[in-house]
Structure formats: C-alpha cells, structure tokens
Symmetry: C2
Subunit: 320 residues, 2 copies
C-alpha cells in the first residue's frame, strides 16, 4: 500500500465537512477561514510508541488520545476546536491497524465537529503528531499568567486515574474488572474538557490542563503568574474506582504526581465562585476547589487537614 492510497483510503473521507474549510486533504496545503472577530489558537503534541503509550495499545485508542490531548490544550485556553493536521510515522502499512486508527480518529473528530485538514504519512517508528487549531474571541484566551493572590484553585473531574491505570497495565497494581475498565478508559480514551474550557473564558483568571501531573502543572501557573498556593490534598477529587483499588496515601500520590489526566486546572476570584457552578452545569463535568493562591512567589504548600503534607514525587519529565 502506497502513501497516497493510505491517505485516500483512511483519512480523506471524513464525514464531517466544515464550511470554514475551503480546501481540505489532497492538495499541497489546506486552505481555511477563521471567523471574523476570532483569534486562531494553535497547539502541537506528539505521542511516541513506548514513551507516551505502551507499544501494544490498540490503534483506536492511540488515535483518540492523540486528538484528545491536543483538544485538551485548546480547552485550557478556552478555545473551540476546529481543525486538526496529522503526521503519522508508521513502521509498516498494516491495513487492519490503519483501519482501527482511522476509526478512532473519525469518532473523536466527529464528536467534536473537528475536521482533519491534512497531514503526512511517513515510514518510521510509530509516532503521531497532531496540530490542532481552534478559535477564541479576540483577547479572551485563558493563560497561565493571570492568576492572582486570593484566587481559588479548582480542578475538573478526578485526578490520578490514568496513572493508576498505567500501573495496572504494567502489572504493578490490580483492580476489580469493573474498576479496571473504568480506569483503563481514563488512560486510553481521555475526555478533553472542551465545553468546560469555553465556559471558563469569562470566569477563570488562569487555566492549564493537567497533562504532566498536578504538582508539575500547578507550578506552571505559579511561575507564570508569580503567585504561591496552598493545596489541600484531602480535598483532591479521587474517583471511586481509585478509592476501591489503593490506600488513600497512594491515591493522593497518583492524584498529585501522575500525568495524563487531561483535566482542567484553573483559578477564579472569590466573586466568581458562585457563578462557577451554574456555568459548569451544562459542561458535563464537575469542578472541585482544592486550594487557594497567595502572594508567596512560586511557592507551593501541600496540607492535609491543615497540617503540612509531604510527598516525594513530581510530574513526568522527558530527558529528566
């Protein structure tokens, strides 16, 4: 199977054709239009087999996750997703694998009404790079740098599930079949908080997605905003399958230090606290207040029931 027929067979015929795409797959470039009054929001994330997912991960999950982690970055800026480009490096053109991969890709892009507008298919080690494009009304992008002392720190969903799932896959932990299914779903089919992100535009002061782990990602906000924070680890949102499977101290370690959660971590002022619940009611996800920001430059304190709490771990870092 040649490169051109791979693109033709598996990626060209997305069922969802957006009106803002003038020229899609099949020419040297795509040509698209950004709506008036909106800025373009762009992000790129790469997944490498054996680094970002185990080598035997199913192709449908790899495609889902590659798109989801990019939509999660768009969500963290408050952007509405629009188009994605795919670069797929493959050791061989395995038609069954490609068929599963393209199914995963079409499922998630259709769900979010996102269109695949182009890409590249090359022979090489299994690596997937997605560049995702979205829109945000001018000057409304959420960033890491506008948190203020006194802001409340929130996180969507639950934390640590993907980290525990990874340890289950690699045989270091176990869980009941039902819990395992839930946890593996969190690892392999993460949900980008797209609607929560757009909802937070006018509410949050700052936002980031939790991809490297809570401790690592909250520090990005603290550094960029020159604030400190106290996190009450007893308030961290932990799923029931996690609570069923490990001791509390371990659950907290997963919630603080494991990556791959793709929840949104954001800060809001005291005045917006009341509006938040109403605003998020339609976004299909809960949000939990886990701490507060202060003026202690870049310093993060952990507390458990108001006592200092220590943990020897940090987020995932390449080349560390």
């Amino acid at each position: 199977m040649k490169e051109f027929s791979i693109i033709e067979s598996f990626f060209k015929s997305g069922r969802h054709q957006r009106r803002d795409v003038e020229i899609g797959i099949g020419d040297d470039c795509a040509v698209t239009n950004v709506p008036e009054g909106q800025s373009l929001v762009v992000t790129t994330d790469t997944l490498v087999s054996g680094v970002h997912f185990p080598e035997d991960t199913e192709a449908r999950a790899i495609a889902h996750k590659a798109i989801a982690v990019n939509l999660s970055d768009l969500a963290a800026m408050g952007a509405e997703p629009a188009w994605v480009s795919l670069s797929l490096s493959l050791p061989e053109a395995d038609e069954e694998w490609l068929s599963d991969f393209s199914r995963g890709l079409h499922e998630i892009t259709e769900y979010y009404t996102v269109q695949l507008i182009g890409g590249d298919t090359v022979k090489g080690p299994l690596t997937i790079t997605i560049t995702a494009h979205g829109f945000i009304p001018k000057e409304q992008a959420l960033t890491r740098s506008k948190a203020r002392p006194g802001d409340w720190l929130y996180v969507t969903g639950t934390l640590g599930d993907a980290g525990l799932a990874f340890d289950i896959i690699t045989g270091r932990k176990d869980a009941t079949p039902a819990d395992k299914e839930y946890l593996l779903g969190r690892l392999n089919y993460p949900t980008p908080r797209v609607l929560a992100g757009t909802t937070l535009r006018r509410i949050a002061h700052s936002c980031i997605d939790v991809s490297d782990g809570l401790l690592s990602d909250v520090q990005h906000i603290l550094n960029a905003s020159n604030c400190g924070a106290v996190i009450h680890v007893d308030k961290l949102p932990i799923s029931k399958p996690m609570m069923d499977s490990v001791e509390l101290s371990e659950a907290l370690r997963y919630a603080l230090a494991a990556g791959d959660d793709y929840e949104l971590l954001f800060t809001i002022s005291e005045e917006q606290k009341g509006n938040l619940e109403v605003a998020l009611a339609n976004s299909n996800v809960s949000a939990t207040c886990i701490g507060q920001l202060n003026g202690m430059s870049e310093k993060l304190e952990l507390k458990f029931e108001d006592e200092p709490y220590h943990i020897n771990a940090s987020g995932y870092q390449h080349f560390a």
Copy 2:
C-alpha cells in the same frame, strides 16, 4: 536537561516577533491573528532520520530542511508564510546538537520572517514534524486541479541536483569538490520558492512543488485536473554541476525521477506566457517551459527532440 529548559534555551527566544502573534511559546497553545480578507493556509511535513535524511546529516541542515519543505508547500499554493510549530522527537538531549539545530531553525525562520509559535519536545527516535501556517487573499490559492488543456508546463530552477547529491553522499557517484559543494547545498539547504509562489497567484492555473520527483508530481496535476501532458525532456533545466558530473541520460533520469528538489511546477495559459518573465524577474529564480498540457486524460508522454522517450523510474513512495 529537562524538556522545559530545552524549549526555554533553544527555541523560545527567536529574535523575530511578529505582530500577528498574540501569545507565542510558553502557554498551552499559541494565539495568533489572520489578517482580514486572507485565508489561512496550513501544511504539515515530517522528516524521519534515516528515511528523509542520512543519520549523520548536520543538525543545522535538518532544521533548515524541515522548515524549507513546509515553506515550499505554502509556496506551491501561492501563500505567504507566517508561523511554524515544531515537534521534535529526540533520542537524547545533546546540547551541541540542539544548539546547531536551533541555529538552523532561527536562520531560516528569520530569513522568511516566520515565527516559531510552539511545539513539543519528546524523547524518541529522531523525527521532526513542522506545521507551517501562511496567508493568501481569499479565493486566490493555487491548486493542482485547475490546469487546462493547452496550458504550458513550467518548472523553476533546476531539477535532479538533490538526487545526485544523495548518490554522492552514499558513495554511488562522485563530483569535483566545487560541484559537490553546490549539489550538497541543494540537498541539505533547499530553497523554498516563496516569492515565486506569491508571484504566480494571478498568473498560474495550477501549481505543485516537486518533492517526490517530477514524474510523480506532474501526475498529481494531471490527475487532479483531468488533463494529459507532453514533457520535452531535452528542455529540462539541468544545472552545470550536474552536467559536469554525469552523462546526459543519467542527468535526465535524476531530473525526471529524483525527489527533494522543492522547485515549483506550474501551468499557465498561452496569454500569460509573456507576463511570466516580467513577473518572476524579482523572485530570484528562473522558470523553464518543459512541455504542454492536452486533453488526454491523466496521460503523460515524454519526448526527446520530438521522439518518444522512455525511462524506467518513478518518484519516491513510502511503503512502495
């Protein structure tokens, strides 16, 4: 060296800050603005070590080429380049390599006043994916599909140099030191025909860049436009270093079948033939008429001094 410090040290501080970039590297996404009346043009190309360039290629050349091949795709649509995203998969964080790579990247992006707006650095086999963004006035994009019977077929620059250079590197061919230097420059530091591309907007009917080889790329125009063509191989533009180094029949084979030239192949009507020379005078590149299109659906004929010419070769194809 950690991922965050790689980005900080080598990629964040481009000297060229464009005014249409609201938020650059350092947040979850970049935020940019497309000028009013312009469409956004997007392309993605991946280079894999050992596949798209020999493993011992210098880092500066790898960066140059990764950007150049994407700018070449933009040029083929007539677009003006604006921003690039970089995904860099690296086996290890070698500071000297990274320093050379970032030098190559900054040199070419500054030359074309393009800004690096984001990306991802991951641990993995050496692979570089660039997504390039450019602008074109609405409805003016050059495509592969609007060639017409009777159009004249043109190509910029010279053909085959990169293919010969590759055979020199791998020891299959040789050349004088001066010719070698020229040819290796064509392979490692290709020149995207950016100015020629924007100049052709109102002149050409169709356009593509020659990346897979002339035979392969002209066929894309013929297929998309449902035309045929005659190419006069005796008219193919061959560089003097190529003529010095190999027999004519070999030179023609490189010109027809080798890839990596990144010249523009385009078609224009009889009426525009006169305007072309004037229009290209400022774009720093020549263009040569190599044939003509006809109504013979998708059929390509080669002639040498009006006699049929046969060659047993086609363009580079992954997974072939």
